[in-house]
């Protein structure tokens, strides 16, 4: 239990080592689902022909709150799904296209629960964990806009948020 469930770091992470750690010490684990988010070289929101290639990305967070918020999300995942371990690593600082940004890994006895919990944690993190991305392109730097589709992804789990739009975040089960 020496490794924290949530780590915010500038350094890269080792997917194999993290997955191994989730099941090696618990032989009741029969499934590990992991998700890795990586930096694209283009902004998926900007129409083709507008906005340049992304040369660099900077990630900012709210030290203390970010870790606590993700801890709370993992607690919620334990309540909703029959999982045995979970780990979230999110990188901050300067990143380049191709770099890994985020790892969510969940272990369970059978695959269904870890698949669901992994997607739940990612959907939750996208709209409620305090991180901000800034993209650097040949045309200059700009903060990335939040997406309504991410709010909608979380709504599938019965949690309504207004991160990308709306007057204020109203959180909690519908």
């Amino acid at each position: 239990m020496g490794t924290p469930r949530v780590r915010i770091q500038t350094a890269p992470f080792d997917l194999g080592a993290e997955v191994r750690a989730l099941h090696e010490a618990d032989l009741g684990v029969g499934a590990v689902t992991s998700f890795v988010g990586t930096v694209r070289d283009r902004n998926g929101v900007v129409p083709v022909g507008q906005g340049g290639p992304i040369q660099r990305m900077e990630l900012e967070h709210y030290p203390g709150m970010t870790e606590a918020a993700i801890e709370g999300m993992i607690d919620e995942a334990y309540k909703r799904f029959d999982i045995r371990a979970a780990r979230v690593i999110h990188r901050v600082g300067p990143l380049e296209p191709g770099d890994s940004i985020v790892l969510v890994a969940v272990a369970s006895a059978h695959r269904g629960e870890s698949f669901k919990a992994c997607e739940f944690l990612m959907d939750y993190l996208k709209t409620q964990a305090p991180f901000w991305k800034k993209e650097h392109t040949p045309q200059g730097a700009q903060w990335v806009d939040a997406r309504v589709s991410d709010d909608q992804a979380l709504a599938r789990w019965g949690i309504r948020v207004d991160n990308a739009s709306g007057p204020a975040p109203s959180q909690g089960p519908v």
Partner: protein, 84 residues
């Protein structure tokens, strides 16, 4: 009331890391504090103006516009989050 206000991302670039506030008239909501801050300088008026997507946390927990701000709180304002 005395409050610590922190800013992140684009708001940090516009307004700095943080401000110590003293003598804020209370009780006050998140929306009320935002209006109070917006009355401060032209930079605050622009960064915090109504209609701009600004989110808030009180003592490092997400808070809605109508949440009450307790005395001594750390209140953070920031744009919608974009991690992951």
């Amino acid at each position: 009331m005395n409050l610590t206000v922190r800013y992140f991302a684009s708001l940090r670039e516009a307004l700095g890391d943080q401000q110590q506030l003293t003598g804020v008239p209370g009780p006050i909501t998140v929306a009320g504090l935002r209006r109070h801050l917006a009355a401060g300088t032209p930079a605050h008026a622009e960064a915090l103006r109504e209609g701009r997507a600004v989110r808030c946390a009180i003592n490092q927990v997400m808070a809605a516009d109508d949440a009450m701000v307790p005395d001594g709180a750390e209140v953070a304002f920031f744009p919608p989050v974009t991690g992951g």
